[in-house]
């Protein structure tokens, strides 16, 4: 699987994602600088990593969403290239308009950094292929601005169209309807607050994140 990781100033999970992709797919991803205008040819997956792009000045992900490379990412997404935004990457995807809604300060105003239980919701999407629908998994979260918000009509539409991919199985950050991850209408763009790339090896305290990347790999095969 030919993949790329977008590198924004301040992102601190880009290398973690690169290691996860290399381990699972057997192929190192291209690391693409945010100021670049073009992406490598033939990409099957683009990852927007977690971290604090541009220091979270303005809003989390707001400045990154207007980076030159995001035009190429948006065009690639329109062609059906899979895009995965993790944590700050999720924030970037909503700020860029590639996913509906927005991510706000956690309801408790605390930075939440721990393993949480998630329920896998959409069984058919490529991103959840590595899991059984309704399965409970454990992934780490580390975020200050993870409360997912959207108006009621948007939330209803997301639910009806099966666009909720992962839901918190416990209270974490005040997200509307406990949403932890959503996909676009085509099911090709996933935004996810928890960090699957931090649950790849047993030494991480769990390997549930590995199955997301394995599922993607199988979906591409």
């Amino acid at each position: 699987m030919k993949s790329a990781v977008i590198v924004f100033p301040g992102s601190n999970c880009d290398r973690d994602v690169a290691v996860a992709l290399r381990d699972v797919t057997g192929r190192a991803p291209a690391m693409v600088w945010h100021g670049d205008h073009d992406l490598p040819d033939g990409l099957e997956l683009i990852v927007l990593p977690g971290g604090f792009s541009h220091g979270d000045y303005l809003r989390s992900g707001a400045v990154a969403a207007r980076a030159p490379v995001m035009r190429a990412v948006t065009n690639a997404a329109a062609r059906g290239v899979r895009v995965l935004g993790i944590c700050n990457g999720f924030q970037v995807l909503t700020e860029a308009g590639l996913l509906p809604g927005a991510l706000m300060r956690n309801a408790g105003l605390n930075f939440v950094c721990r393993h949480v239980a998630l329920r896998v919701e959409a069984g058919a999407a490529a991103f959840t292929r590595g899991y059984a629908p309704g399965e409970l998994i454990q992934l780490p979260v580390a975020h200050h601005d993870g409360s997912y918000v959207a108006d009621a009509a948007t939330l209803d539409r997301l639910e009806q169209q099966g666009q909720v991919a992962f839901r918190y199985a416990e209270p974490v950050n005040g997200s509307a309807r406990d949403i932890a991850g959503v996909v676009n209408e085509a099911g090709t763009v996933l935004g996810l607050m928890p960090h699957p790339e931090r649950a790849i090896e047993a030494a991480h305290g769990g390997t549930d994140g590995r199955r997301l990347f394995e599922g993607l790999l199988h979906a591409m095969a």
């Binding site: 707001a62 400045v63 509906p100 956690n106 959207a150």
Partner: protein, 76 residues
Amino acid sequence: MKARVFVTLKNGVLDPQGRAIGQALAGLGFDGVEDVRVGRMFELTLADGTEVSTIEEMARKLLANMVIENFRVELA
């Protein structure tokens, strides 16, 4: 010329920062603070003659997240 852009959360969007600040004000003994909403103000120094519509475009494209926020432009 200078312009100020005020960005505020839309009505109905929960503002946990505002709520915490409201509680802190109550803790200081200020009674009657019914609600606090936190916003952000941008002071822009612009070329003379910059159209208000251009400033509004800046707000829509970057300064405000139109999913959750409103904005207001004030020429100084």
